[in-house]
Amino acid sequence: MATPMVSVKTYVTVLAVLVALTVLTVTVSFLPLAEGWHIGAGLTIAVAKASLVVLFFMHAIHSPRVTWCVIVMSIAWLLILFSLTLADFMTRSIVPFMPGH
């Protein structure tokens, strides 16, 4: 299989960055920030770590385009589940739906 290969050096560098990001995410979570910042920071760092794992360890960077479609679709569908479900819960306090009122 003549697939292009990721070098050992790249793998080790990626691990170093991942460990650093882990330490960062734990540290940031201790800081007294406003609520939205904590969620935002935690999510951003986690997504960055996940991207590194998917791109390099799972060699998505060298995978065929159809694999990219699968990755993108999984993320998209998860976002659909999240956004449309939370759309209900987070807009309830604005005007509740009460037939007859």
């Binding site: 697939t3 080790v12 460990v19 734990v26 201790f30 904590h38 999510l43 770590k49 794992v53 995978s63």
Partner: protein
């Protein structure tokens, strides 16, 4: 004389193994080339991982919903979880992912000795993860953090200056829900890790028997993808479960 020959007559062998579920070939019948078989198997694993994203994703949504409905209760509950073990376990899994990636790298180069060693390292780190998890679960047991089985409602209701968490009785329900989600998510993840360790060890055994080569290492590659996914889930579990309440530690 193989095991098959010892157990079955040629006639029985033909009936049982010819074109049935039990038949094993290097290049399966429906494929034209080994390359097609490899690409197909890897793609199949990616598609399976998409289902796992939705499977775990449902639990993440549930946590998100309850975090939005009862932020204080959920964050208070999260403070009781062991972020240190959680953090260490994250690093353990990340290193095991590196070991797995290096195993695949060696497989591509045909270096079977290295493949074997890296696979064993991956499995060993996986076992370390499970051991640390066991310790963590034991500590949760000691601290009465198992809703529906070993849970002390009064401790959560007691005021803060008396060593409790100062929650109202409505909020205790949310605490129990959050803890159930914690046990479900980490338990399901641990189950996946266990299956992964089994797969990795199986690959190690097959490698030691000379089953693979640089031309054919498909099962190892596919196992690698699964193992990295298990790591991915944990990357998201850490902030979602363990780090929700840590910002309030300075006030405790």
């Amino acid at each position: 004389m193989t095991l098959k020959d010892a157990l079955f007559t040629p006639d029985e062998q033909e009936r049982l193994f010819d074109h049935t579920f039990l038949q094993r070939e290097l290049l399966e019948e429906q494929y034209a080339t080994l390359e097609q078989q490899h690409e197909t198997a890897a793609f199949g694993m990616w598609v399976f991982l998409a289902t796992e994203v939705m499977f775990f994703g449902t639990l993440f949504v549930t946590v998100a919903v309850y975090r939005s409905l009862a932020p204080q209760a959920v964050e208070t509950a999260s403070t009781h979880l062991n972020w240190l073990i959680g953090g260490i376990n994250t690093i353990v899994l990340l290193v095991s992912s590196l070991m797995m990636a290096l195993a695949i790298h060696s497989a591509k180069l045909g270096d079977q000795r290295r493949v074997y060693r890296f696979l064993l390292a991956t499995a060993a780190l996986g076992l370390l993860f499970l051991c640390l998890k066991g310790v963590e679960y034991y500590l949760d047991y000691v601290e009465y953090l198992i809703p529906g089985w070993r849970f002390d409602k009064d401790k959560w209701l007691a005021p803060k200056n008396a060593g409790g968490d100062g929650l109202s009785s409505d909020q205790v329900g949310f605490v129990q829900i959050f803890l159930l989600l914690y046990w479900t998510m980490t338990g399901l993840h641990a189950l996946h890790v266990t299956i992964g360790i089994g797969a990795v060890l199986t690959m190690a055994v097959l490698t030691s028997r000379g089953h693979f080569s640089a031309a054919y290492y498909t099962p190892v590659d596919v196992t690698g993808l699964y193992w990295h996914f298990v790591d991915l889930v944990w990357i998201f579990l850490l902030p979602t479960l363990y780090l929700l309440g840590t910002h309030s530690f300075h006030t405790l």
